[in-house]
């Protein structure tokens, strides 16, 4: 079983471009590098807008920049897909074959 990944690779990507925390903060539109430091130490999670700004700066997708967080979210979605597939009301409402197939695939591919 592989180890869970780190929540984000923001520090590695910043170092890859030889940028300082203050420079990244400027690019993100925040005042100082303190916030950037907290993101990199996994103390704070960036907003969607900041995450997209990171994607624009580092030219990497959000799921690549936040692999651990993505892994966790992906696993949670798979669990919920499994639950939704098994739900009685869902079946009673005439769940289509397509929907069931999509949920099965989602639960299996992400498990």
């Amino acid at each position: 079983m592989p180890s869970p990944l780190l929540p984000n690779y923001l520090r590695a990507n910043r170092k890859r471009l030889a940028l300082s925390q203050d420079e990244v903060a400027f690019l993100l539109g925040t005042r100082s590098g303190g916030k950037v430091c907290r993101y990199e130490r996994f103390v704070r999670q960036p907003s969607l807008e900041t995450a997209l700004a990171y994607e624009a700066i580092f030219r990497r997708s959000v799921s690549e920049l936040f692999p651990g967080l993505y892994q966790k979210v992906e696993r949670d979605v798979a669990e919920r897909a499994k639950t939704l597939r098994e739900r009685r009301d869902c079946k009673a409402n005439g769940q289509t074959a397509r929907k069931r197939q999509a949920l099965t695939e989602l639960a299996q591919s992400l498990a």
Binding site: M1, P2, S3, L5, L6, Y9, R11, A12, K15, R16, A18, R41, F42, P67
Partner: protein
Amino acid sequence: MKKTIPQYPRILAIAPSSRGFGFALLEGLNVLADWGVKSIKGDKNAGCTAKVAEMIAHYQPDVIVLEDASIKPFNRSARIRALGKRIVTLAERSRVAVRLFPRTQVWQMFFVEGQGTKHAIAEILAKKYPEELGFRLPPKRRPWMSEDYRMDIFDAVALSLVLRRRSTRNRT
């Protein structure tokens, strides 16, 4: 008891030097998640141990890799050998597995004849990780120059790759 290491472990490699230490964090399929040099002033061993403790708490590695400096004839100073022991003790206290590799094993991984230079290893690693390490490759050292501080990063990355190579080979 030797702790078992998971598949694709998070590896923290430490390469102590006269200035402080170089480090590299490897995870997943050879993703270089962090790397750098920590310079310590004053009591170097106490400072280095404190920094390594911070890194263990932050990154929670599965395994720490160090150079085995205890093999005779000693090619590292008494202070660095003592630092190695302190890091091993710290890792054991934090319940992190430790693996020690002698320098010869690192060379065997990079060179067919088992002999080469640190700069040659650094060049190989700069080619393997061009975006991360390419611009950090120091110029080739001349006889009158002291070693560039950036070489500590390459030493640490090389150590982490030795463990990665060994663990993947053992599983295949």
